[in-house]
């Protein structure tokens, strides 16, 4: 019996936590590399429609975004519920599209300008009238490569 009693007196050696920072740092670097900071605060609702035949937009630096949708709940008292266009951090009208595209084009270097894509991030409740007007403005601004931003899924997947 005394054999067993002797063992209980010794405590287990503590598990070394010296490698814990390494593991955490590994995770940290992973998230630092993959993270993309949201560039704009959304002023409009943005529930994207669903589609299955989608292509990924490579090279974020070549993509400009146009948001369309009804203003978010907290701004509806001020701006109503009619769908609006958002460029950068503010509401815009159709007349602002041309200057916006020109400005975006100016920021890219010359070789990359033809590769510029405009990503239309529209809420699924928006009517096509506004989208058509927007497309017309884009054509006038010579921004012909567009992408209708969607989520992968069956059309009309979730209401």
């Amino acid at each position: 019996m005394s054999k067993f009693r002797r063992k209980t007196g010794k405590s287990q050696p503590a598990i070394s936590t010296a490698s814990l920072p390494d593991i955490v740092f590994m995770l940290l670097f992973f998230f630092m590399v993959t993270t993309v900071m949201r560039e704009v605060t959304l002023l409009v609702q943005n529930r994207k429609p669903f589609a299955t035949e989608i292509v990924k937009l490579e090279r974020r630096s070549l993509v400009s975004y146009i948001y369309i949708g009804p203003p978010i709940k907290s701004l509806q008292a001020q701006f109503g519920t009619e769908p609006r266009i958002q460029l950068n951090d503010q509401f815009a009208t159709l007349n602002d599209i041309g200057p916006y595209i020109a400005d975006e084009r100016e920021r890219r270097n010359e070789a990359e300008r033809p590769l510029m894509t405009v990503s239309i991030k529209a809420d699924k409740t928006v009517k096509m009238g506004l989208i058509t007007d927007l497309k017309f403005e884009l054509r006038r601004a010579q921004a012909l490569k567009i992408n209708y931003s969607t989520i992968k899924g069956k059309p009309f997947g979730e209401k």
Partner: protein
């Protein structure tokens, strides 16, 4: 003076600092990859477009979407689920049926919507039409090269894309009943 060994720095709090940063990045990260349906708009020209040779009626697939999000394809009411198969039949008809296209080269899909059509419906229609093209291209690439379209080399992909060119023409929206 007797040299004393510098006391070891306690690294126990390193993990805490790293965790703090980690949590910050975890919270701010947005993992959404941008994806969607890509399209090319026709260039804008203020002048009247030059006279085009008329396109034979049988080569045109007319897709109309009204403000109630209802589909009318070649003057018939159609459900969204049937659009893809009908478009595939139209594109790959090769002159077999009289009211469908003569060849993939000559076909045109004319898409017209109302100003009141919802964006969701529009994207769904675009999606179905794209699906029709993608499936036809996949079938043809499997037949010719034994691989799916997106796995082909650049030249092979061009060959298939030329064989089944994507021809979707969008007219200005009108008031549709």
């Amino acid at each position: 003076m007797a040299r004393r060994a510098a006391p070891e720095i306690n690294a126990g709090s390193m993990a805490d600092i790293a965790f703090l940063l980690l949590i910050f990045f975890l919270v701010t990260t947005t993992m959404d990859v941008d994806s969607g349906i890509s399209r090319k708009l026709p260039p804008y020209d203020e002048r009247e477009p030059p006279e085009q040779p008329p396109i034979k009626e049988r080569n045109i697939l007319r897709v109309l979407v009204n403000s109630q999000d209802l589909l009318l394809v070649d003057d018939q009411y159609m459900k969204l689920e049937d659009l893809k198969d009908y478009a595939k039949r139209h594109i790959s008809n090769f002159g077999k049926e009289d009211n469908l296209s003569e060849s993939p080269e000559k076909h045109v899909i004319s898409l017209q919507n109302d100003r009141g059509t919802s964006y969701e419906m529009y994207v769904a229609v675009q999606n179905e039409l794209t699906a029709a093209y993608n499936e036809l291209r996949d079938e043809e690439s499997l037949k010719r090269f034994g691989r799916k379209f997106n796995l082909l080399t650049e030249n092979q992909a061009k060959e298939i894309a030329d064989y089944y060119p994507m021809k979707i023409s969008e007219a200005e929206p009108v008031k549709l009943k």
